[in-house]
Symmetry: C2
Subunit: 444 residues, 2 copies
């Protein structure tokens, strides 16, 4: 038995949307909270593609976690990686120690899934972290630079092809933004190549892109993408990826840069909770989002597998994660007040996907929109949910400026990729070149 003046300690693993909102909802209660994450920042993932495509800087969509909670004395933020659980003794195992808890909220999220082809990760980065985004940005910008140099120095005119694998919201956003960059942003920046001749190809294995939307909106999205210059291929399964090609059965596409937006799987931490998982690695939870036999352990966000009314799974979207995080927090508070639990109920606010400049689709409780109106809805919702006032003003300004001028300011090629794989076929040394500065410095 805990003593009467024991202040309950709640450990939250992961500061994505689910974990962050759980912590926020608990911050004003008489509890102690420890929020653990492997990164020092919360990443506003819905806008990550804007960093990958050079419209926003990392600092505009990533925010230091401990700064978010600086005024909440009962919230303690810990930079550490959870490695496992001792559920019997109410302890989380960390790489650097262990943490006892009264309640545990596991919100470890998801990562890319390459469907049994781990080697594709090298050639086709996905988009989950700030580092992913800057790596994609680097490859994309470097493809233009290399083509320009070849044209200038060797009179070789090698076409630039961007291939995006996966026709979900992230793939559509990336494809639309890449086309916009090639058609408008970079159009007048090069002398020996014409960026407007760049091909952007979006590949979807299923019969239509954006399958979570009504069919008519998928059709509208294809039309909007084509207007932006994107080639959409559906019903094509990727069977191979190397440094210069994407294979679709016996079809072979040349690819300067390949981006992966085709699948996610839940954090491997989920399998350590002892409950069953679905085929994407998500943990089967009770109607109150807890582990069977462990009412003190909540699993929320992308890591949780639960059905909504009607039998469809709750989708892996930010609004669902936020609702689950808030639900776990309020259920803990009801417990502490001696009230009974209610099951989690997912409120479907609608579905939004942006395609490009003034292009989007929206399905808000049966009300379907596409084009400019959908785009403004998307803009409004995303700016509204950005964490922190400073970022909101700045991001609005960036967007306004980019919209008016067609320019993207954050076009930096940075980083020191140590990959030995040629970024663009035949250009083995490109990546090394970017390291020269660092190397010569290290060499003395």
């Amino acid at each position: 038995m805990k003593s009467a003046n024991h202040i309950p300690h709640i450990v939250i693993i992961g500061a994505g949307f689910a974990g962050l909102y759980a912590a926020r909802s608990l911050a004003h209660a008489k509890v102690r909270i420890t929020l653990v994450d492997r990164r020092n920042h919360h990443t506003f993932q819905p806008l990550l593609y804007q960093v990958a495509t050079a419209a926003l800087s990392p600092g505009e969509i990533a925010y230091p976690i401990r700064h978010i909670f600086r005024n909440d004395e009962n919230v303690s933020v810990l930079l550490a990686a959870a490695t496992g659980f001792d559920l019997q003794n109410h302890k989380v195992l960390l790489d650097s120690g262990e943490l006892p808890y009264d309640y545990l909220v596991v919100a470890a999220g998801s990562t890319h899934a390459y469907f049994g082809n781990p080697d594709w990760a090298t050639y086709a980065p996905g988009l989950k972290t700030v580092e992913d985004a800057t790596e994609i940005r680097r490859r994309m910008l470097l493809a233009f630079e290399i083509a320009e140099r070849r044209a200038r120095l060797n009179q070789e005119h090698s076409p630039i092809n961007f291939v995006v694998v996966g026709g979900g919201p992230t793939g559509v956003e990336l494809a639309g933004a890449l086309s916009e960059i090639a058609q408008h942003v970079l159009a007048s920046d090069f002398r020996s190549i014409d960026p407007r001749s760049t091909r952007v190809i979006l590949i979807e294995a299923g019969p239509r892109i954006l399958p979570a939307f009504p069919a008519e909106l998928s059709i509208s999205a294809v039309r909007q993408l084509q207007k932006l210059g994107v080639e959409v291929m559906t019903g094509k399964t990727v069977t191979g990826i190397d440094g210069a090609h994407v294979e679709l059965g016996d079809q072979r596409l040349a690819a300067s840069v390949v981006l992966w937006a085709a699948g996610v799987s839940a954090s491997p931490l989920g399998t350590q909770l002892g409950a069953g998982t679905d085929r994407a690695g998500r943990v089967h939870v009770q109607p109150d989002l807890t582990l069977p036999g462990h009412p003190e352990v909540f699993v929320v966000g992308d890591l949780a597998s639960i059905l909504q009314e009607g039998g469809k799974p709750v989708p892996g979207l930010a609004p669902a994660a936020i609702q689950m995080g808030k639900y776990a927090a309020s259920t803990i508070l009801r417990d502490l007040d001696g009230e009974s639990r209610k099951p989690f109920h997912y409120f479907d606010k609608g579905n939004l996907a942006t395609i490009g400049r003034s292009s989007a689709i929206a399905d808000v409780r049966g009300f379907k929109m596409s084009g400019l109106l959908a785009w403004f809805t998307w803009l409004f919702v995303h700016v509204l949910f950005l964490i922190g006032f400073r970022n909101r003003v700045q991001v609005m300004w960036e967007w306004f400026w980019a919209y008016v001028t067609f320019q993207r300011g954050a076009r930096l090629i940075t980083g020191q990729s140590r990959s030995i794989v040629p970024l663009v076929a035949g250009e083995v040394h490109e990546q090394d070149m970017m390291d020269d500065d660092v190397k010569s410095r290290k060499a003395g």
Copy 2:
């Protein structure tokens, strides 16, 4: 003999201040210009320390080179590394080909110098590139995170010591900004440690810091630094650096993070020009900044060694580099117009060094200032020279916001350092931890 309608081709190596201003000054003339750089962006180096100390984002001080010249049809930008010269045949050798020139402007700049101790580079990064700045930011923020975690999980209270080696303008800026972060910015963000107990130590081998300034301003700078909480040690030579210590002869300082601001040497490209170099590797040039026997080859910026009137060397500062770049451009244009050459004359506009919030020193043609007035002068000059309107507005906004709120928004720990050296003594796995996301993605 060139034909009468031959348009002269000017190759510029390096898009730092000297190369950039040479290109800008030539952009409206009847010449063709090829600007070659290993990076795709110009870095506004005077504000790089603000990225290193999390006040600004990389995108705010680095600007895509080809975007700067997007409207100058006669300027072609090439991402490539110069590897040598064929002066006889008027060709620059690149890693990826070669470029013929009629005039050559070599503005390859400088890099860190560790005075024969190349292994120190791993423990004590310097500040020349955007990657350097984000690496310093990462180490600095990680030091606080590690201390917090140790205090929380292991009840260990390990002091945080930042050691900055080198009392020139960069060392002083870094020390001042680090102290400000510890004393103000992070003060309320941690629960288990008090960032205000952080020590910031500035080490200078010479008898006084900022030796390029009059002695009375050096004294004022020390006083302003001490007011910010920085400990200043002069007359101390660093004899050893490892992952946890800095050695000063028989004195051994514990150091969580060591930063190197003690010396630069010219780009190794300088030695390939065949002319003599001084002990910092800078090329001895003629009064018109050209190589002896090669009036068509200019060496400008940090790579050039030349004396000003009075016998003092022209300093390695942005204004000197800008003046040299403009001079090379105008001399080329005089040549083409059949006019005779005039020697380069350095116009000393004065010397500015910022120390921290409202703290700076300035020596403008004998008029000495320190404190708030000097700081406003510094602010005005630096915002004025920022390339590109968008950045200027944004940086002003960032500064205003940081000034009013004492906050720094760009506090991201990013990057995947593969260093096997412990960042902070005894924490060998820290850096690896940050890679987990990437690793698990690549593995699965």
